[in-house]
Subunit: 112 residues, 2 copies
């Protein structure tokens, strides 16, 4: 699995979603996985990077080719259901930041 | 500890650093913690969010008030030493994206 998204040359857009979960885990993993799969099918989707540490902080960054693509995904029916459930049950708090990616560098270790 | 950074109203800047580590752990945690403390002392620093999951993917997002502040931190002597060691020993691969944060939303669950 390619954990680091292979995005095109900038400019493009990123949504940084930083979250702390509640103790209610019921249905969360299934919904999170379904949302990643669904996001990847949307117009303008470029990639996603997601991780959650032992301290409970989760960071998911999704990449999009335009603000319109982000808005389209935000309004998607199944995503709206997930957002409502997230606020009601799964998230203690979160921050969501919409950004314009302006400069990118990649590093890949050379194999010996 | 406040895991989610309490940043001001946009616009401001974010550096998204996504990485996969090598198996060389020698000195890494100490250096990473030192860099977080040092970054927080730099002019223009607004906050940092960082986590690494069991799958080995790490995402660190630092927030800054200007591109000049990001460049100043990039050129900091101790940070340059850490960057060199990171490329030489600690990182298998990484992506570094510099972004302009344009829109932000926060959610905080109400206490019962």
């Amino acid at each position: 699995m390619n954990l680091i998204a292979g995005t095109p040359a900038p400019p493009y857009y990123a949504v940084i979603f930083t979250s702390v979960r509640t103790t209610d885990a019921d249905g969360y993993d299934e919904m999170a996985e379904h949302m990643v799969r669904l996001a990847a099918e949307q117009p303008g989707f470029l990639g996603i990077e997601s991780t959650r540490g032992a301290d409970g902080l989760g960071i998911t960054v999704s990449y999009w080719d335009s603000l319109e693509a982000i808005e389209h995904w935000r309004r998607h029916g199944e995503h709206q259901v997930a957002q409502t459930a997230g606020r009601a049950r799964w998230y203690e708090r979160f921050a969501l930041r919409v950004c314009r990616v302006e400069r990118v560098g990649f590093f890949q270790r050379e194999t010996d």
